[in-house]
């Protein structure tokens, strides 16, 4: 890599991207041995004595990770974090280091840097923390930044901001960057060169501008086709809707940011939409906008404060949360979750899992009949029967998600709710699953309610879309109308944030310093057997 160059490293999960940068950064864990050479400014790090290599790395390399929160010491302030390297490595006086730290924070676009220096990581949002990490790596003014999926955990708008900061730095400092991502579109938009990895090897290196044309390797082509804009779905003319949601509202009582007293937090506010039988509706919006909450209310996992959910004319908010109530509800709506590993019982084989799901609704079914139905379901999700006797541990992510979908279909529901069902999978698998879902919808006539960050995924599968922000619906309508001729500013912002060819990241909302209490939504307890929280 030469100075000021941005090189992208793309490839599917497990292809060795992270290991590569960790080897460069000297972070290989015990038991892993790197061979070969790593030259920084002509010095081979692999041959240098440990002490010396550490000094070279400290001054010549900066590294930013996917999960900034985990990479910051939770017990120390942002200031401690920023100043530490300046003092311990750079040999600056603490007072000087502090003002320098504030400057660096300002450089990455953090407002009120003095206050931030006194805060702890827990008080900052993910986007801010990622910027703090970037600012910290700048302390030693390194020529090279290693960035490992630094935006994967962020939503599109925040991703754009972080990328904008990096673009600025590149311009102002001539910073070179090794940029790792799953997202070819993003890589194409920000990198000069792109290296494609598969199974631990770089299979091909391409110039970013011309990658579509130049791609030779079949794997690269597969990656590229996976991100191609898909055909638009043709929505069937709406008959009587299978699902009518109206005036849905849900508030949580949370501790206020300053601790102490509790306050009401509106997660879902006056949400309403309809879903046609066999139709598909996408819900998009930034993180924390209330998408999951809406989905959970529809499936009965949460109780709405007010509003109605009509399924075939019956109000489902009134169905009791008894076992029989759950059984009735099960035939209406089923859900597929984001993390396919966590959403299966790790002790059950695929077959046991499906058998259980079926027998809930057909308690008197005989063994052979049950097994026949299991095979049917497996076939529907394109799983070979030999996988049926494996436990989740020995299935791939895509296969697990197929089992989860098959399980959801076991109840023969009217609606399938997909909460970020493909976000955790790598691109090629995503495409497979989305295609599968589309096929199932056509074949079985189940209606899809698909929640996603990913506008292209929504575009591929859905006929209607709802855009949410802060618990409210900003805009809704047929997919083509909303995504191609957005009316709401927020929809426009969302669309503009999605990396695409010729995309230049911009700082669009400089005032947003998001100090909301950031609750990791995926870690919240979900099952509440009593029904009330």
């Amino acid at each position: 890599m030469s100075a000021g160059e941005v090189v992208g490293l793309v490839g599917e999960s497990g292809s060795g991207k992270t290991l590569t940068v960790r080897a460069v950064a000297g972070l290989l864990s015990d038991g892993l041995v790197a061979s070969g050479t790593i030259r920084v400014d002509g010095e081979n790090l692999a041959e240098l004595p440990e002490q010396h290599a550490r000094a070279v790395r400290a001054r010549r390399l900066g590294m930013v990770f996917q999960t900034p929160r985990a990479h910051l010491n939770p017990l120390r302030t942002i200031g401690d974090f920023m100043i530490e390297a300046l003092v311990a490595v750079g040999g600056e006086k603490p007072a000087a280091a502090e003002s320098r730290a504030a400057e660096l924070l300002a450089e990455v676009g953090i407002a009120d840097p003095e206050r931030r220096l006194r805060q702890r990581p827990s008080e900052l949002s993910g986007g801010l923390l990622q910027r703090v990490m970037i600012a910290a790596t700048l302390a030693m003014d390194p020529p090279l930044l290693l960035a490992d999926e630094i935006t994967t955990a962020l939503d599109v708008t925040t991703q754009e901001e972080v990328m904008a900061v990096l673009a600025d730095l590149r311009r102002s400092r001539g910073l070179a960057m090794l940029f790792i991502t799953h997202d070819l579109a993003l890589a194409g938009a920000v990198c000069d060169r792109i290296a494609v990895m598969q199974g631990g090897r770089i299979v091909e290196t391409l110039q970013a501008e011309t990658m579509r044309a130049d791609a030779q390797h079949p794997y690269t082509q597969r990656l590229l086709s996976a991100t191609l804009p898909p055909d638009l779905m043709q929505g069937e003319p709406a008959t009587e809707p299978v699902l009518v949601v109206d005036g849905l509202r849900k508030t949580y009582s949370v501790r206020s940011a300053s601790g102490g007293h509790r306050e009401e937090f509106v997660a879902v506010d006056e949400v309403g939409f309809t879903l046609a039988p066999g139709g598909s509706l996408g819900i998009v919006g930034e993180s924390g906008s209330g998408k999951s909450t809406t989905a959970r209310i529809i499936c009965g996992l949460e109780r709405a404060d007010s509003g109605i959910i009509l399924v075939k004319g019956e109000d489902w908010t009134r169905v009791p949360r008894s076992t029989t109530g759950w059984r009735r509800r099960a035939r209406i709506a089923q859900m597929v979750f984001q993390d396919p590993y966590q959403s299966l019982d790790r002790r059950q084989t695929a077959r046991q899992c499906l058998r259980e799901a079926i027998s809930v609704h057909r308690p008197r079914e005989s063994r052979p009949a049950l097994d026949a139905r299991v095979d049917e379901l497996l076939e529907a999700v394109l799983l070979t029967p030999d996988l049926a006797d494996r436990r989740p541990r020995s299935l791939s992510g895509g296969q697990r998600q197929r089992v989860a979908i098959a399980r959801a279909l076991a109840a023969e529901p009217e609606i399938l709710v997909l909460d970020e069902a493909v976000s955790a999978l790598d691109v090629t698998t995503q495409v497979e699953i989305l295609t599968l879902l589309d096929r199932i919808r056509r074949e079985t006539g189940v209606a899809l309610l698909m929640i996603s960050h990913d506008l292209s995924a929504v575009r591929r599968v859905c006929d209607h879309v709802v855009v949410m922000r802060g618990g409210r619906i900003e805009e809704s309508g047929p997919i083509a109308e909303v995504l191609d001729r957005p009316r709401a500013d927020y929809t426009r912002l969302l669309l503009a944030s999605v990396p695409h060819e010729g995309w230049v990241p911009q700082r669009r909302i400089p005032t947003r310093t998001a100090a909301l209490p950031t609750i990791a939504t995926s870690n919240l307890p979900i099952l509440d057997p009593q029904g009330e929280r």
Partner: protein, 319 residues
């Protein structure tokens, strides 16, 4: 400490006070749960004379409703009137006061040993993987399987009788002599805890060493010694502190074993002797004291942890 931390601490301390209150109810109800007449229970296995019966009724207000009895019991304990032992025929306070010092010294001594050797060996095992770690792991496996009293007997045999390096009886006189006399008792008490704390320390330090924020510090070129102090040890310390809190409290009770073996007249021995003599008033008072100690120590530990880690809404306490 921010207002938020203070508020969180206050509610924590409130919860601890509630714990204290509830456990005092549990301890108080020992009298009611003892089979037979509460007067006999309170007389402590002695057949009470009519004067004693009157005195007990008077002291414990046995004619009053239960809650009045409880309140007056707690009230008198709070005002320093710990009641009378009918077995020892003295004020409970006179039984406890002269014995407390030696137990306290023993616990402190033991604690120093535990911290130095337990935390020390735990860190060593975490930092020096390989042979040192193996040695520490084998040692601690043995250590957690060693009954304290067996260690005491072995120590008496080796150091007291065969080598004659350390005294094996009594607390001695004067602080230095006290410490000399308490060496073997403290070691015998400490062995099990050293092993226990060593394992916890090793676990906590290893977890921190492989944590991502330590990785970041390494990439940034922070010197290893500094990383260890400011990132690894600091972050491991809340867990160690909370274990230390419960350890000290239980040491006061377990001290009985060493006191028994080495003939130290401390409160541990008093507690077990009183139990053997069914002297409920003494046992109750001492139990309450130990529980209060536990609660206070934990409150202190929570404060320290809250200073280190203001986000510790729920300090991890158990191991």
């Amino acid at each position: 400490m921010g207002a938020r931390t203070v508020r969180r601490l206050l509610s924590k301390i409130g919860a601890l006070l509630l714990t204290l209150f509830l456990s005092s109810v549990v301890i108080f109800s020992a009298v009611l749960l003892t089979p037979g007449d509460p007067v006999v229970a309170l007389a402590g296995g002695v057949r009470p004379t009519p004067e004693m019966i009157d005195a007990i009724r008077e002291q414990y207000q046995l004619d009053q409703p239960v809650w009045v009895q409880y309140l007056s019991w707690v009230g008198s304990v709070l005002t320093g009137d710990l009641g009378t032992s009918f077995v020892y025929k003295t004020e409970v306070i006179d039984l406890i006061a002269p014995r407390f010092g030696i137990t306290f010294l023993l616990v402190i001594y033991t604690l120093v040993l535990i911290v130095v050797f337990g935390v020390g060996s735990g860190i060593l095992a975490a930092v020096r993987r390989g042979r040192v770690e193996q040695a520490v792991l084998v040692g601690t496996s043995l250590g957690v399987a060693m009954p304290t009293f067996v260690v005491a007997i072995v120590l008496i045999w080796i150091f007291g009788r065969v080598l004659g390096w350390f005294p094996v009886y009594g607390p001695g006189e004067g602080l230095l002599d006290n410490l000399y006399h308490l060496t073997l008792p403290a070691v015998s008490l400490a062995v099990l805890y050293i092993a226990y704390i060593s394992r916890i320390t090793r676990g906590a330090v290893v977890a921190q060493l492989s944590s991502e924020h330590v990785e970041t510090a390494r990439v940034r070129g922070i010197p290893p010694s500094r990383i260890f102090r400011r990132h690894v040890f600091l972050n491991a310390s809340p867990q160690l502190l909370s274990v230390a809190g419960t350890t000290i409290a239980s040491l006061f009770a377990v001290a009985a074993i060493a006191e028994h073996a080495f003939g130290l007249g401390g409160i541990g021995v008093l507690l077990t002797e009183a139990a053997a003599r069914k002297d409920l008033p003494v046992v109750q008072t001492l139990s309450l004291m130990l529980v209060a100690l536990f609660v206070v120590l934990n409150a202190m530990v929570d404060v320290v942890i809250a200073i280190i880690d203001p986000d510790s809404a729920r300090p991890r306490r158990d191991a």
